[in-house]
């Protein structure tokens, strides 16, 4: 029997949503400062309006729903799921006001793509977008990668048991430190250390490649935020291809790989547990998966005689494979080249890499290598069981931070998430095919959206059907939150109408 939620349940959800809305309003002050510093007065006015509107909405929600009650699982999951919708709606306001989007739906698509660290974009005339709006796109991506809840936990919410449930709702099921607020702060520490190192290296590569120093620094910070959070937005419409800069490509590959590593693994290695780097199931599975999917992609590209030189073949193929596998979406070719030059086999290799993704508790989306590793180990265990005497006991271990016995519960949850993702991929593929695209194109774009990658074969554009935009927005949202929070929210909506008192 489902019970109808009480008024207090809605108040708890409203109160925490209000806090999260306030934190987004505060974040908007950064592009406002940039607008003022660059004398972009239209941008300054737009951001001032957006800040006022967002802070007012957040404050009203917090005051009206004020409560001292802690979050139960149902509330925490609903807050996690709803906060992404609210964040999308308010963050789209300055983007829409910029005049670079055809409609508010397009601006919302861009905001959801940013928060979900996808990188699919509907922006028009990006190369002439003012710095403040462009920075806001990248900041949205950085916040989404870190986690909207993580931001609220760091600054505005106390570290209660409910706060931890909210953190779990955002698809971060690993508590790195005993206190969830300390965990959130550690995630920020790692990101800021790499922000300094990564932006510095990218700036040097940019200046070396001929960019003016100020432009190099601005672009480097933007590119870092999108690469580290495996997002995929760039300040230029031609993506990374614009720079024609091999060192910059190598640095972005490094950042994409670093961004796809589990924060718990960063913590282990940074605190002296260095052997974890080559023993961890995620690293081993990621390595094997890259080699396999890269081989499929390379074979597909070579069949079509696209590149005349081995270096251009290797750099283009490897770049897009890593970009897809880590869920970033950076590109050094034009979208239609996937269809017209690479062909179906190479597209399938990249699609497979995108579908698998990076590590759990990182900034990547998709099924994740941990779950692939667990399912592979379970399969191996079952085959072994058939080969040994029935009386023998077989214990299968996996290593993730510590040695763990492979229990059914790990296999079960991994299989559930895997099946959910496959369903989401199929859903988007059918939607794409209904809009008239071929199977390989529809599958590529659907996996790219649902796995929060951002590589496009040319479907995503301002002129695509509005229904398909909404489907991709749903895929990005559900894929980023890994379904549980979305399902709980759906359950709560059903309970509101059909639950018993």
């Amino acid at each position: 029997m489902i019970l109808r939620p009480h008024l207090d349940d809605y108040r708890i959800i409203g109160y925490y949503l209000g806090k999260i809305t306030i934190s987004i309003g505060i974040a908007m002050m950064i592009p406002f400062i940039i607008a003022v510093a660059h004398f972009e007065w239209q941008g300054a006015v737009d951001f001032l309006f957006s800040i006022s509107f967002t802070l007012l909405a957040g404050a009203l929600l917090s005051i009206i729903c004020h409560t001292k009650k802690d979050l139960a699982t149902m509330h925490a999951m609903s807050v996690a799921a709803l906060s992404w919708i609210v964040a999308m709606l308010v963050s789209a306001v300055p983007l829409y006001l910029s005049g670079h989007y055809g409609s508010y739906l397009d601006a919302s698509f861009e905001a959801m793509s940013g928060y979900a660290t996808t990188g699919l974009s509907l922006v028009v005339d990006l190369d002439h977008m003012a710095n403040s709006y462009n920075f806001w796109r990248h900041l949205i991506m950085f916040m989404g990668g870190q986690g909207i809840v993580v931001i609220a936990l760091t600054f505005l919410v106390r570290g209660t048991a409910g706060a931890f449930r909210m953190y779990v709702g955002e698809a971060r099921d690993e508590k790195i430190m005993p206190n969830v607020v300390e965990t959130a702060r550690f995630i920020w520490l790692v990101s800021i250390v790499y922000l300094v190192l990564g932006s510095g290296a990218l700036s040097i590569a940019g200046i070396w490649g001929g960019l003016p120093p100020l432009k190099a620094i601005f672009d480097s910070v933007c590119i870092f935020m999108a690469a580290w959070d495996t997002g995929g937005f760039t300040p230029q419409s031609q993506n990374i291809l614009f720079y024609h800069n091999f060192p910059l490509e190598i640095i972005t590959i490094s950042l994409m790989l670093l961004g796809s590593i589990n924060f718990a693994l960063h913590y282990a290695v940074w605190t002296g547990n260095r052997r974890e780097l080559y023993r961890n199931i995620e690293i081993v599975t990621l390595f094997v998966s890259i080699i396999v999917t890269l081989s499929i992609t390379a074979w597909g590209v070579l069949r079509n005689y696209v590149y005349a030189q081995s270096l251009s073949f290797s750099s283009k193929t490897f770049y897009h494979l890593i970009s897809g596998h880590t869920g970033t979406g950076y590109s050094t070719i034009y979208p239609r080249q996937f269809v017209n030059e690479w062909g179906p086999l190479a597209m399938f290799g990249v699609t497979l890499a995108m579908a698998i993704g990076g590590s759990v508790c990182s900034t990547t989306g998709a099924i994740k290598v941990f779950r692939i590793g667990v399912i592979y180990k379970a399969l191996r265990q079952d085959i072994k069981k058939m080969l040994i005497p029935e009386t023998a006991i077989l214990v299968q271990k996996i290593h993730h931070i510590k040695d763990m016995i492979l229990e059914d519960k790990y296999v079960r949850i991994s299989a559930i998430i895997l099946i959910s993702y496959v369903n989401l991929y199929i859903f988007g593929t059918i939607a794409g095919m209904l809009c008239g695209y071929s199977l390989s194109e529809a599958l590529f774009e659907s996996v790219s959206a649902a796995a929060n990658v951002g590589l496009s074969c040319g479907i995503t554009s301002p002129s695509m059907p509005a229904a398909l935009k909404i489907v991709y927005m749903f895929q990005m949202w559900a894929g980023r939150l890994e379904f549980i929070a979305v399902m709980v929210l759906l359950g709560m909506i059903i309970a509101t109408f059909r639950g018993k008192r």
Binding site: A298, W299, S310, S315
Partner: protein, 44 residues
């Protein structure tokens, strides 16, 4: 004195950790490029 030693050790461990992570990333990059060159040699 002890807290300074602990702080130094923490920074040292973090710096070593970052260096090893970068080494791991470059192993991935070299392995990936090597796979590409092998396929190029075999199929071209």
């Amino acid at each position: 004195m002890k807290s300074i030693k602990t702080l130094f050790k923490t920074i040292w461990n973090a710096a070593l950790g970052i260096s090893l992570e970068l080494v791991l990333v470059y192993i991935f990059i070299f392995a990936g490029l090597a796979v590409c060159f092998i396929w190029w040699t075999l199929l071209k």
